[in-house]
Amino acid sequence: MIAFIAKRLAAGVVLLVAVSVGTFFLAHTAITDPTVGLLGTTATEAQREALTIKLGLDRPLIVQFWDWFSHAAIGDFGTSWRNFQSVNDQIAIKLPVTLSVVSFATLLTAFFGITLGMIAGLNPNSMLDRMSKGITVVLFALPGFWVSLVLVIWFAVNLRWFPAVGYVQPTQSITGWLRSITLPAVSLSLMGIVVVAEQLRNEVIAVNKQDFVRTLRSRGLSQGQVIIHILRNACPAALTMLAIMFVSLLSGAIVVEAIFSLPGIGQLINSSSQIGDIPVLLGITVVSVIFVVIVNFLLDIALGWINPKVRVK
């Protein structure tokens, strides 16, 4: 077990370093002169030069990289080029917003995806299966932000059940917080529900055909008990989908955050990329990859618990 953890940790660190290095050089190659974005097109040559020196952009790229990397390695992502605030602080303020929306979306996905997938998989080609397949295709088709727009119009503008925009801190009001993240979470979850349900349906159909299910039934187990056996065998792929969805939404909910005016990571990414605030973008990238590593690690442990055969490998 310790060897397993050490190995995963090492692989995670390698991935983290690789993605950091890649993103650093990509960002500096793509954004050749950050002062254009930061000062706008009206700035004078002298202003530009002053900022270049202030940010240390006149140094060789490899020196800049080491300066950033050696600090990032000890958890200090530097300061924003726009307002010279600590990148760590900015991420710390925005992350809880995104985390609460994305976690809620993941919960919704898990619940509805697994329920729908189970029902469809246990009754393949039934009316319900065909209906859910129809819904699947339609939902998969529609981008999350498209659905957000519909939800805003319908539930926030027409029915006024939920606020159209804005975020309420849970410390201010728990119900207000829940109401403020419901519509964004629903629109982020739809795609995931479809993917998880489809994945689980196919797995359930495959497991249901296996010999051991008949043998379990022949022992007199109830339908509920047999379903638990089937679910445990069928769920790894769907669980992997859930994990992928969770981490990809952490930095991928930009458009939905923009529609609902949520002050989350997505908004920070959007505003920072428009002016080329590289330290902020690098900080968010590293934090996202840390989440990828942690979630993948937890996923491996969960998969090993579900199917002990995986543990041996």
């Binding site: 954004i31 295709v137 339609v138 498209w146 727009l149 051991f212 008949r214 529609i259 990238t285």
Partner: protein, 606 residues
């Protein structure tokens, strides 16, 4: 089907396969509609300069937020530009962007996947690592950085989306290639001296292209979604009409002019939906090609209709009230695309308590189907009817499904054929033995554990503590079959159904397992129905035997009489086929000389 079709298939499997999938695809309603929509959209994009009623950037101030009219069919946008024209030109932008994305992803991902899957080794490890790393990268950040850095160069941006989508292609191509590479015909081609590139072109490519096409339909939809999302965020030239930018404008004015949002949203939704429907329909067609449960049905389909409703075959040996099991006129049928196909055509037989009945026949004779019917556990699509299935004096065929299920595990025990696939891989042996005892027989945890341990000891497992804690993959096939026998008898059933219980085992283990079954059957005075294709097994432990062929019973009799002089030539063929070989010969001689049980040592000696 004539022979020419087969010849064609041999000559060029790609061509005939493509034709058949494509022609079946356009014959489904979903297929023809989605294809029609996509062709229409492509036509609109190509013909945009000719069909667009106006210049998409021409500003007519009087048309600002105008409702649909004769001049502006869909109305005007917030600055007075013609919405229909912008929608038509936006189609061009959307398709062009999606094309760049999928070509990029396809050209990088698919060949890399084929090479990694075919050759394996260092390239496979490196490419798989890169693929995983790309998936770990926060894609939107990369896209926005590229957008900011390249002054919103859209083709480059869409190519970047393509790079981010390469892992999808890589994984599919690699997995398919791995599967095909392990097929015997690829090894044969290699031995025959074909070069690797030729094998890839001739054998790998035909198997890889179908899932790649499906992936492309889905990837195109995803690319359009991302593209519209980026445009919605304001990325892209203001002069190039795009659906995403139109949606952004609609969003800003959605309270006053909801139509502004409707048109581009509908265009995007319909396009992506058509792609998704096309992908999923193609996927279904490709998946249907792989044979599944249909095999059993087709094997017997030829004879099914001719024999349908023929009188029941077989006979009863006991009075109805003396039999432990009495099956009367059992018919089993499977639903197939061309209607129902009968695989068991009305058979009757019975077993007395403490008797061992062998059911012998070749694969497809319907013997396993008979057992599944008695359990009421036919695979999906299967259905049986019978004038009666009497078990311990009750006609269970007339019971409701719930009542019927209650007999399982208490009145009827079942031993399956393939030991390794009949234990749930996710649970320990101990759990799997104890669960039915606890829930069906209402034992406490401790009682259940004691019974399970006693049963394992009874079936001859030496290291009971270790086996209880083991997972199925940690024990041998012979041990797994003993575990399954322990599970079947733990509920002390009066009837035990064993479906080829020794077929998957080593010869030496087979004899031990048969011996064990015989002992247990004697000890608990169970009626044992033993399905097998092997007359040697019948000789070993059965009292009576019925011979099945193509869903009918062709012979019933005492084992010794049947061996001495079978009435049916088919039975004689089966006997000589089963007992072909020195060891079996000896076994048979001993069977004739003395009693069945004496045959044991001989079988072990083999």
């Amino acid at each position: 089907m004539s022979t020419t079709a087969i010849v064609q298939e041999d000559a060029d499997p790609r061509a005939s396969k493509r034709q058949s999938i494509f022609s079946r695809f356009i014959r489904t309603p979903a297929g023809i509609i989605s294809l029609g929509v996509i062709l229409f959209i492509i036509a609109v994009a190509v013909l945009a300069p000719w069909i667009s009623p106006q210049d998409p950037n021409y500003v007519d101030l009087f048309a600002a937020k105008a409702p649909p009219s004769a001049e502006h069919w869909l109305g005007g946008d917030s600055t007075g530009r013609d919405i229909l024209s912008r929608l038509i030109w936006g189609t061009r932008t959307t398709l062009w962007g999606a094309l760049i994305t999928i070509v990029t992803a396809l050209v990088i991902g698919a060949p890399a996947g084929v090479v990694a899957g075919y050759f394996g080794g260092a390239f496979d490890r490196a490419a798989s690592w890169v693929s995983d790393a790309i998936q770990a990268i926060p894609g939107m950040i990369i896209l926005l950085v590229v957008a900011a850095g390249t002054r919103q160069n859209f083709p480059l941006l869409m190519a970047t989306v393509g790079v981010l989508l390469t892992p999808g292609y890589y994984r599919i191509a690699r997995a398919r290639t791995l599967t095909i590479r392990n097929e015997p015909f690829v090894a044969a081609a290699w031995v025959a001296g074909l070069s690797h590139p030729r094998i890839i072109v001739k054998h790998i490519f035909p198997g890889v292209y179908a899932p790649i096409i499906i992936q492309t339909a889905l990837a195109a939809g995803i690319a359009m979604g991302i593209q519209a999302g980026l445009q919605f965020l304001g990325i892209g030239s203001a002069n190039v009409p795009s659906w995403g930018a139109m949606m952004n404008e609609g969003f800003r004015f959605m309270l006053t002019s909801p139509l502004l949002l409707l048109w581009p949203s509908a265009a995007l939704g319909v396009t992506i939906a058509a792609l998704a429907v096309m992908g999923s329909t193609l996927g279904d067609l490709v998946r249907v090609r792989t044979p599944s449960a249909g095999k059993k049905a087709t094997a017997a389909a030829a004879t099914a209709n001719a024999a349908a409703r023929a009188p029941a075959t077989g006979a009863f040996a006991y009075d109805a009230d003396k039999a432990a099991v009495r099956v009367e006129n059992l018919r089993v049928a499977y639903a197939t695309p061309s209607g129902e196909s009968e695989v068991v055509h009305g058979i009757s037989f019975d077993v007395a308590p403490g008797e061992v009945l062998g059911i012998v026949g070749e694969s497809g004779s319907g013997k396993s189907q008979t057992v599944f019917s008695m359990l009421d556990l036919l695979p999906s699509g299967g259905r049986y009817e019978a004038d009666g299935i009497v078990i311990s004096g009750r006609d269970v065929a007339k019971l409701p499904a719930k009542e019927r299920a209650k007999l399982l595990g208490s009145e009827i025990g079942y031993i399956p054929q393939e030991p390794m696939s009949n234990l749930d891989p996710c649970y320990t042996i101990g759990f799997q033995l104890m669960q039915p005892l606890r829930s069906v027989h209402k034992k406490s945890r401790k009682e259940a554990r004691d019974i399970a341990r006693a049963m394992l000891e009874r079936v001859g497992i030496a290291d009971v503590d270790r086996v209880m804690k083991s997972y199925p993959f940690e024990i041998s096939g012979g041990m797994a079959q003993r575990v399954l026998i322990a599970g079947a008898i733990a509920g002390q059933p009066s009837v035990l159904l064993a479906d080829e219980p020794t077929t998957a085992l080593d010869v030496t283990v087979q004899a031990e397992v048969l011996e064990l079954l015989r002992e247990l059957q004697d000890e608990f005075h169970m009626a044992l129905v033993l399905v097998t294709h092997n007359f040697g097994v019948v000789a070993d432990i059965c009292d009576r035997v019925i011979v099945m062929r193509d869903g009918d019973i062709v012979e019933v009799g005492e084992v010794r009489e049947t061996f001495a002089g079978a009435k049916e030539p088919y039975t004689r063929d089966l006997i000589s086929a089963s007992l072909d070989g020195a060891a079996s010969r000896r076994e048979l001689d001993e069977e004739f000389a003395g009693k069945g049980a004496n045959a044991q040592p001989a079988a072990q000696g083999a």
